[in-house]
Symmetry: C2
Subunit: 192 residues, 2 copies
Amino acid sequence: MAKANVKEQIVSTSLDLLHSKGFNATSVQDITDAAGVRKGSFYNHFTSKEALGLEVVQRYLAAVGELAAVLHDGTLAPRARLQQYFERMIAGNAANDFHCGCLLGNFSTELSNQIPAMRSAIQQAFAGSAAVMAAVIAEGQRDGSIRSSVPAAELAAFVNDAWQGAVLRTKAEQSREPLDRFARMMLDIILS
Amino acid sequence: MAKANVKEQIVSTSLDLLHSKGFNATSVQDITDAAGVRKGSFYNHFTSKEALGLEVVQRYLAAVGELAAVLHDGTLAPRARLQQYFERMIAGNAANDFHCGCLLGNFSTELSNQIPAMRSAIQQAFAGSAAVMAAVIAEGQRDGSIRSSVPAAELAAFVNDAWQGAVLRTKAEQSREPLDRFARMMLDIILS
């Protein structure tokens, strides 16, 4: 396998493994076995499992970013953008039978107290996501379709936090109900 | 150390270690070293680290149950009971500088896809907590102090989910702000 392909194979395999099993439950050996590459080749590409973990987070964020493109779709009303974004995120959870949760949420609980560079990456990702959502909410507040009694940034941060809680519960329950409940409460109560 | 004391020493030490470092990042050796007991003695008391983890969850739930006693305090109005309960839970997070999160939430993301017995224990704990909260909310709906446009069980489940999200974010941010935001949104918007 060419060198670039080995690295790509390790990252894409690790995204699945770390998302489904978690960081500490997955060894470098698990990763190289699953990727079908020699264990020694891992350290040609990554200085540590932590370095790989940081790259996997960026890969995950790129995938979520594609789902989040709808938040920038000016042909849709602000509420519809938020609704469709979370419908896509729920479909993403359905694709793994609600067993894996959100990689960022998983790493928040497992690693943010253990790996400072991971905590920084997670904080940046959450801040970026909240900023995009706050802009959509502010637009809805201006056109009167979203509650204006709470600042857009506060609503966006709370919606993001509550989403993480819903995903955590969905993983614990292995059921979509917490995600559907989140969507109902967001649309009918929090934003309305 | 007497046999009962060794077991107690292992459980209480493990509660701290598993809460702060996580399950998979903590080895049996870490636990016996921190507890000051021989490694071999661990298996006199526990068939596996998983069995210890289940006992640690019950110990954690007993501690949370003490904080939750206020939810049963009939001398307080329903909203005040909920407010004081979450104030106590926030103080619990403050006691570890917002670094540890909720043990149930941590294990939900780290273990519910890995250890079926742990997933069952977590599901039971969440269901029990939601039932107690639903009863308080239903009482507030009857006296008109809590929104009645959403069934008490749905409100309670959402409040519990959103709390887990707030705690997850608090751990990622190592800041109390997500917990204060949760309390504001719960009292001013979700229940009102």
